[in-house]
């Protein structure tokens, strides 16, 4: 164990691409924690998807021994936090586990919306914050402007900002010194009952669930029996250690320290982020404050493209759920898509990550239905139901009113694109709450229905701002609004997987856009196909897909038979990517593409 005065625990707050992982790599490398030959880029991002997207999904940690200029050796614990709003709760727990943050800002870019969200989390956790201006080796670097922006937008003193190039290593030593001298040491009582916060957990095929903990008070030793205070489950600790970043066993973890434990836990579900761990006997009385169970906010259907893969899909979803307590699922049957699952996610990124993992790690092609939020349906009898799937909308005669979730969205955007961004927010039923300027960039805050954001808002925002706008949001609550279920009928039959909840005032526009899109997405058939949008029994938009008029090969002789037969086989494989609905084949991408709005 290390005495408190020689421990520094810190997180790195940064926007995607501002160089958080590279800086972490440099810190690890320059202290000799990892031999140069073992160094690979972005050491802490373990999953393929994390590497590819340049984001961190699971909290990672590394313990660094650093001999400072004052001659003393310090233990520096870096927690690499998830960098996305979907994982805001996980971030908040990671922040509570450390005392300070490095705020990394790309000196060629400036502050972004996601930086803001995480820095506010750090401020909420009473962190000491050291601004780090990165990428000073680039010609476009403008440290003075960015420092000023940090002071304007975030409101913290940036005069002592450290200028760094994580790429060349310039400023790394200064950063390490600042961690030691500007960040506070942790506090905690060694002789108090054990109180450890569960920061994160994940499944390892050899060791079972690995639990990342921060010891607040007391001492945790190998062989002890511990209790997870939320579900009162008892476990026998069989391993304790720290990450360097490889796992290294140690005998005990004392106050202020960050490390891991294993206790033959089979499911990540049994280890809730934010939970308090204490001893079975002589444990602490009160858990640490702030625990919140994970609450999915975005739901969608996942169906196998090939119906025979349903069991494989079930298997993959169950396995992923073991390792992700925030992901929920239940079986769903759709007339259009057959058997699948209705799944709940923390947000859109979470949805994409899970979907990608199923497709990639389990090799199952998926049809993803339109993401939906959770509506509150108030019945005439005074009861309230949660609606996760538009297909389950109760009969209107029994419904009194509906409420939908709202968010507070913060968008940072250069001046030039502000007009388009405001129009986008207005079009999505937004209410402007704030509009301020920092230099040539505007910060707009909108109250928006989550429903209007879950689908393609972020894509649209990127597109209207040429990629310059950054965006973050937090849920604010529920509000009543005039919402209706819109059905899509193809060839006069309702296609349940295309049903959506829409605001009544926007129903006609949305309906028109959807039937027009579907007209382009569905290939022409040998007969004409009406495509309609309807609310209740009333058709509000209609298109007709005309019948195929000509599709015949002009020349087909003896030398063409083999080629044509192979072409037919290829087309058959393509047809497997279609769903037959009544007499009509609907391509799988239609279920998502139909909902995208171009304006």
């Amino acid at each position: 164990m290390t005495d408190l005065a020689h421990i520094r625990n810190f997180a790195i707050v940064a926007h995607i691409d501002h160089g958080k992982s590279t800086l972490a790599d440099r810190l690890i490398q320059s202290t000799g924690t990892v031999q140069d030959r073992d160094m690979k880029e972005q050491l802490l991002d373990a999953m393929d998807i994390e590497r590819e997207r340049g984001i961190t999904i699971k909290a990672n940690t590394v313990r660094i021994d650093y001999k400072a200029d004052d001659g003393e050796t310090y233990v520096l614990n870096l927690i690499d936090t998830p960098g996305h709003v979907d994982f805001a709760y996980e971030v908040s727990r990671s922040m509570r586990a450390v005392e300070g943050s490095l705020l990394v800002v790309d000196s060629t870019q400036g502050v972004e919306a996601q930086t803001l969200a995480n820095v506010y989390q750090a401020i909420d956790a009473d962190h000491e914050i050291v601004p780090v201006l990165n990428k000073i080796d680039l010609p476009a670097s403008d440290c003075d402007r960015v420092a000023e922006q940090i002071e304007d937008v975030i409101g913290i003193d940036a005069s002592g900002a450290i200028r760094v190039s994580a790429k060349t290593g310039q400023g790394i030593h200064e950063t390490l010194e600042a961690i030691v001298h500007r960040l506070p040491a942790p506090r905690g009582k060694r002789d108090a009952p054990l109180r450890a916060m569960l920061v994160d957990s994940w499944y390892d095929a050899y060791l079972g669930v690995i639990v990342l903990v921060r010891i607040m008070d007391g001492v945790l030793r190998k062989g002890e029996r511990i209790v997870m205070m939320q579900n009162r489950s008892v476990h026998h600790v069989d391993r304790i250690g720290v990450f360097r970043p490889a796992m290294q066993a140690i005998d005990e973890l004392g106050p202020g320290e960050i490390g891991f434990l294993t206790a033959s836990i089979k499911q990540v579900r049994d280890t809730r982020v934010g939970d308090t761990i204490t001893h079975e006997r002589k444990g602490c009385e009160k858990p640490l404050p702030g625990f919140k169970p994970a609450q999915p906010v975005v739901f969608c259907g996942l169906f196998p493209v090939d119906a025979s893969e349903f069991e494989d899909l079930r298997d993959s979803i169950e396995k992923l759920a073991l390792n992700d307590a925030s992901f929920s699922f239940e079986m769903e049957t759709s007339a259009a898509l057959g058997f699948g699952f209705r799944c709940g996610f923390l947000g859109l990124l979470h949805l994409e990550v899970i979907r990608d993992r199923i497709e990639r790690e389990y090799d199952i092609d998926l049809i993803t239905t339109a993401p939906s939020v959770v509506y509150h349906v108030f019945m005439r009898d005074g009861s309230m139901r949660e609606l996760h799937n538009p297909a389950d909308m109760p009969d209107l005669t029994h419904v009194d009113h509906l409420e939908e979730p709202r968010i507070k969205a913060t968008i940072l955007v250069p001046d030039d694109y502000l007009g388009d961004v405001l129009k986008l927010c207005q079009d999505r039923r937004g209410i402007q709450l704030d509009l301020t300027y920092a230099g040539s960039r505007a910060m707009v805050v909108y109250d928006l229905p989550l429903n209007e954001v879950v689908f393609d808002f972020y894509d649209r925002l990127k597109s209207v701002s040429k990629g310059y706008a950054s965006f973050d949001y937090q849920l604010t609550g529920y509000r009543e609004d005039s919402l209706v279920k819109m059905q899509i009928l193809v060839n006069d039959e309702p296609v349940d997987a295309l049903s959506v909840m829409v605001h009544r005032d926007r129903a006609e526009t949305r309906g028109r856009a959807m039937v027009e899109k579907l007209k382009d997405l569905i290939p022409r058939h040998m007969f004409k196909i009406p495509i309609q949008a309807a609310i209740g029994g009333k058709v509000i938009a209609r298109e007709t897909l005309s019948a195929l008029r000509k599709d015949v090969t002009a020349k087909c002789y003896g030398g063409d038979a083999t080629r044509k037969r192979k072409l037919l086989d290829k087309q058959k494989a393509g047809k497997k990517k279609m769903r037959q609905f009544g007499k009509v084949d609907i391509p799988q991408e239609a279920f998502i593409s139909a909902l995208k709005m171009d304006n």
Binding site: M526, A554, G558, K575, K583
Partner: protein, 385 residues
């Protein structure tokens, strides 16, 4: 010995791969060569006939077809020698049809007569268009005047003459095509092949199309109107379609091509030629190398056939549908069921019949005229798993 009668006989296809110039729409196996060793090529074809005949003894040969490339660039002696060698190996049917494809520019009176004297009794001329501007756009090296002259020579030399036209060309209107087709029918002898211009990948047109530089091609509606007009005008002149793109006076259908559409046996020799032969009860698909030099090399070492694949019953059944629905007479449902191991799904057939795409009568299933215009969709539907 296989009984060829129900499947239209047994034919020999001879591929001559050379052209004077490559046409920008053509995806056939054709090459422009500076010098051709005629003796070596003649020897190679004869050697191939010997090889195949040894495997297929006693079959009654009903057709020979010289295709290309431009086979009317072949020396008449070579053509005569090939016909003679085939007759030596196989008994010929009394009315054996021997066709040669010819380009108007390469036709001389003497040469056509030479082919006739060597045993050719039918010619198929690649006229393609009846105005010079379009002929140039199609990359053809002949003119309309030359086409007329060549056709006159052909008519005077052979009793059976066909010619090809390509329609749905760049900037072509429906009216222009109706006029051109009417004119063509007035010139026609007993057979016409009328192809809609198809942009094939790997051709000059394909590349231009991909680059967005091939303008004025008709959309689907105009193409469909042109196809419909073609059917009407030809029918009214006694040249009803007996296949998607082929029209003939009654009894003047290409017997050789019918072998393909009826899924009969045919031997294919020459670079890139394909064959379908039944040997010992197994139906085989054969292929030869595309490059002329490589083919010649393989023949020199014993066999120009480099790929031989046995077709499964299902594959044969699929070919039966793909080919058989192209012809007006349709296909034999019992033969399909035997090959496929199961008949067509009755609901599928019923639905396509209800939509007016197919007709079922006397154990045969045929595409209607309407069905033929969207035949690819009909075939996909019938053969869906």
């Amino acid at each position: 010995m296989a009984d060829d009668r129900p499947v239209g006989g047994f034919g020999l296809y001879v591929h001559w791969p050379f052209c004077q110039a490559k046409c920008p729409y053509c995806d056939f196996n054709s090459h422009v060569a500076r010098e051709i060793d005629q003796t070596a090529w003649a020897r190679a074809y004869l050697s191939e006939i010997d090889r195949v005949a040894a495997e297929l003894p006693g079959r009654i040969l009903s057709t020979i077809y010289f295709g290309g490339g431009t086979p009317s660039l072949m020396p008449p002696d070579t053509v005569a020698a090939i016909i003679e060698r085939a007759r030596q190996h196989w008994p010929a049917s009394n009315d054996m049809e021997v066709t040669i494809e010819a380009n108007p520019g390469s036709v001389e009176a003497g040469r056509l007569a030479g082919y006739r004297d060597g045993g050719v009794n039918r010619v198929s001329m690649g006229i393609q268009a009846l105005n010079d501007t379009d002929l140039r756009r199609l990359g053809r090296i002949h003119t309309v005047a030359e086409a007329h002259r060549a056709l006159d020579i052909a008519r005077n030399t052979f009793a059976r003459v066909s010619f090809d036209l390509i329609y749905a060309r760049q900037d072509q209107t429906l009216r222009q095509w109706r006029n051109e087709l009417t004119q063509a029918l007035s010139m026609a002898v007993d057979h016409l092949s009328l192809y809609q211009l198809t942009i094939e990948a790997g051709t000059a047109f394909g590349a231009r199309h991909e680059a967005g530089k091939l303008r004025g091609l008709p959309g689907e509606d105009l193409a469909a109107d042109m196809f419909d007009a073609t059917q009407e005008i030809c029918e009214a002149s006694g040249f009803a379609a007996y296949e998607v793109s082929n029209h003939a006076a009654s009894g003047a259908e290409s017997r050789h091509n019918l072998i393909y559409w009826r899924c009969g046996d045919y031997v294919g020799i020459g670079p890139g030629a394909h064959g379908r032969i039944t040997v010992g009860g197994r139906r085989l698909a054969t292929e030869s190398p595309l490059a002329p030099g490589r083919w010649l090399h393989h023949v020199g070492r014993g066999s120009g056939e480099t790929v031989r694949t046995e077709l499964t019953g299902r594959e044969q059944a699929e070919e039966h549908v793909m080919m058989g629905l192209r012809i007006r007479e349709g296909l034999d449902m019992a033969r399909f069921a035997a090959l496929n191991g199961a008949p067509f799904g009755s609901d599928r057939v019923g639905r396509l019949a209800e939509l007016g795409m197919i007709e079922v009568a006397d154990g045969r299933l045929a595409a209607t005229r309407r069905g033929r215009t969207v035949l690819n969709a009909v075939i996909r539907d019938l053969l869906a798993d």
